[in-house]
């Protein structure tokens, strides 16, 4: 099962058109390969951009980082992407074939020792891997290329795919009593299935329909993301923390009257507890810890799934920067400089303001 990642570029806090195309392409490749699709947005305004990207279907990881600050965007984006991709080891990284995208791809290639296929005008899935179409020699020749060992980075040109919203879908995870997955695996299932924005729009009919489905298939448990008070899912907190999936004993499910929480019951099928996830920042997440008590029994009639966050390397690795959930605004740490930034990222932008080409003299004054 292939893990397809698309790297989203941001401009003014919004994903570029090419990023939306890549998100769609990632979803299409994931469908063709039977795998998963993820969009990673790193930059200023990533949280807001995540909402738009999420509509295209893939799971979204948004990392707030100062790309509109005093350093070139690629030098901010690449080390964070390398840390994420080094941890999750996606099979394919789709990167926009833009100037910044090429810089990012070059950095990632060196940092992760991954091959790069460039100028993709088409990407399809065949024989267990991506096959990349490109035009070469000034358009005189069309080639198809592949990675020798399966994994790699693909620089994708504009127009390779048409950005299309995904149909809503819910994936069911098996509710085996023996389930004890790493939280990242759970997050893969959860994050790619139902987005908070969609959950917030659910109607009672939607919920009933899914309940019936769950009752017919007792071996299945439907996973959704619990909403925080601000409407954001707690996905990022859980994923960053690491942990395990642990279904409670089957005798526990019981029906409770709907609480006056302002949410539809169907919004809450999983509990994500993050109170232990961030050590000294536990106070910041007191609200998260409290939520299972307030709403944890709303998954009436069904098995509950408790995603208990624990200390994990990923959380420590990303300590000191904002790590934001797909639907945005769930800040799990203060914004700060990435600790792993290397020397290459110590560029000083003398003046990051945009100058017109004839303003060279003025630029020198800054």
């Amino acid at each position: 099962m292939a893990a397809i990642w698309a790297v989203a570029e941001l401009a003014g806090g919004r994903p570029t058109r090419l990023s939306l195309e890549l998100a769609t392409l990632a979803r299409q490749l994931a469908q063709a390969s039977g795998g998963t699709a993820t969009v990673v947005a790193v930059g200023s305004g990533a949280a807001g951009a995540a909402k738009e990207l999420a509509a295209l279907g893939p799971r979204v990881i948004a990392v707030e980082a100062p790309t509109e600050g005093d350093r070139p965007a690629a030098s901010v984006v690449a080390p964070r992407l390398a840390a994420l991709a080094g941890e999750a080891r996606p099979d394919v990284l789709l990167v926009p074939a833009s100037p910044d995208g090429k810089d990012v791809a070059g950095f990632l290639s060196a940092l992760l020792e991954l091959p790069v296929l460039v100028s993709a005008a088409g990407v399809r899935w065949a024989d267990g891997g991506p096959v990349v179409q490109m035009s070469t020699f000034g358009g005189r020749l069309g080639t198809e290329s592949a990675f020798t060992h399966g994994r790699g980075i693909i620089l994708v040109r504009p127009g390779t795919a048409t950005a299309e919203p995904a149909l809503r879908h819910v994936v069911h995870a098996r509710g085996d009593d023996e389930i004890s997955h790493g939280l990242s695996q759970v997050a893969e299932q959860v994050g790619g299935t139902l987005l908070a924005e969609e959950a917030a729009e659910q109607t009672e009919d939607d919920v009933h329909g899914r309940r019936q489905h769950a009752e017919r298939g007792h071996e299945q448990i439907e996973i959704q993301i619990q909403l925080a008070d601000d409407g954001a899912p707690l996905f990022a907190a859980a994923r960053a923390a690491g942990g395990h999936l642990r279904p409670p004993p089957r005798q526990q499910p019981h029906r409770q009257p709907r609480q006056e929480s302002g949410r539809e019951p169907g919004q809450l099928l999983a509990q994500i507890r993050a109170e232990e996830a961030f050590g000294q920042r536990a106070d910041e997440h007191a609200d998260l810890a409290a939520q299972p008590n307030q709403h944890g029994r709303q998954a009436d009639g069904r098995d509950q799934i408790e995603i208990q966050a624990a200390q994990a390397g990923l959380a420590r690795r990303f300590a000191g920067q904002r790590f934001i959930a797909a639907q945005g605004a769930r800040v799990v740490g203060p914004q700060d400089r990435h600790p792993d930034d290397a020397r290459v990222h110590e560029l000083d932008v003398v003046d990051a303001r945009r100058h017109l080409a004839d303003d060279a003299g003025e630029a020198d004054q800054h």
């Binding site: 460039v118 020749l141 069309g142 110590e346 560029l347 932008v349 630029a363």
Partner: protein
Amino acid sequence: MRIVVLVKAVPIVGNERLGDGFRVDRGSGLEPNGNDEYVLEAALKLTEAHGGEVTLLTMGPAAAAEALRKGLAMGATRAVHVSDEALAGSCARATAEVLAAALRRLEYDLAFAGADTSDGQGGIVAAAIAARLGLPYLSYAAHIEPGADGATVRVHRLSPAGYDVLEAPMPALVMGTQVLGEPRYPSLRGIMQARGKETLTWSLADLGIDPARVGAAAATTRVLTAAPPPPRAGATIIRDAPDVAVERIVDFLAARSLV
């Protein structure tokens, strides 16, 4: 100021063809990659204005010496040619590894690389080299100048809205664009002088690189098929007056959701 210019020897544009294993045939008829000539020109102007020397660095077959000769004729001081039979068919990852190893052996303040190459269209090797060497990387340069303190380099990086002005401590790697300015033609005097300039040839052993890590056998990508593209559909030619033509073009684009 000591500047190393990375030069890729590519087939003369229009004469490219694929050889064995769908690899670009680089056996003969090579010239410096066009974008590399632009950064070489920028390097020559910098050294002419501020003093210093320019060293060319290439990795390629024996025929790559033709491209180096042109660079030397333009005014470069010397050339370094990394050449080894085991390098044939190397992928971008291996190329970056080899060039990074060669740069470690050279003393320089700045390394220059051109944007995309005419044969591979990659544009990622320079960034990969910078990452491997931990060098500040300033890409898509439209203007390059030394900082006032002599220890930094300042670059105008092209952006969608104009350009950003970046500054980094040296040594640094700068990837330049054609906005830097037209490369000069080699003069007859330059061509004659090039014959006497120093050209070093380094092997993989000189660089301490295991041959098993490079070449076609170690390539991380492979070409599966190559064929001429299908013929394009006929073009739509609009010969109307401007106001009507604009309307028709907008309609054409709108029908395809392009505007």
